[in-house]
Amino acid sequence: GESVGLHLPTLSVQEGDNSIINCAYSNSASDYFIWYKQESGKGPQFIIDIRSNMDKRQGQRVTVLLNKTVKHLSLQIAATQPGDSAVYFCAENYAAGAGSYQLTFGKGTKLSVIP
């Protein structure tokens, strides 16, 4: 199940099941979105991205869905494996003016895979 509170939201999933991690973004002007995976002691690692002119994009075992109407992103991981255990972040990118872009991260969700 998923818990939200003062601590990092956690999603516990049985190995082999599918995982869905959700994210709400804040800026309706954002036109590019990225999912990152962060393992313990490592930096965020790019998983998949999607531009605002799309509503779905698939990678290897991962799918990102974008709903601009409600400013919602989700990351689906098929056949979750122990190696998928990590903290997952969504990030939104928007033009901040003067030719620069700003990447803003969501709060993160910790995925724990139960063997």
Partner: protein, 112 residues
């Protein structure tokens, strides 16, 4: 070869000291960034820098200053360290625009 490398990986120091964290990239990207990750894993942009422009997050104290000796490096200098500076600092690089950023493995800064 590590695309974005930071040194040191761990930094333990006393309050009031001045310290630097180094970042080097071999991706040839034009823009480099510094982020701070707090104990709740929240990642916040501190600076973005390319050879033309430094953009500073207004919430960052002026004790923090990025310095870029060349396009492949963006170092972070911190003066008069405070307890609240304890965090993990990440360097990242990107091509700008709608492209993903690539992160180093972080520097864990602990202030005693």
């Amino acid at each position: 070869d590590t695309a974005v490398s930071q040194t040191p990986k761990y930094l333990v120091t006393q309050m009031g000291n001045d310290k630097s964290i180094k970042c080097e990239q071999n991706l040839g990207h034009d823009t480099m960034y510094w982020y701070k990750q707090d104990s709740k894993k929240f990642l916040k942009i501190m600076f973005s820098y390319n050879n033309k422009e430094l953009i500073i997050n207004e919430t960052v104290p002026n004790r923090f200053s990025p310095k870029s000796p060349d396009k492949a490096h963006l170092n972070l200098h911190i003066n008069s360290l405070e307890l609240g500076d304890s965090a993990v600092y990440f360097c990242a690089t990107g091509q700008g625009g709608n492209q993903p950023q690539h992160f180093g493995d972080g520097t864990r800064l602990s202030i005693l």
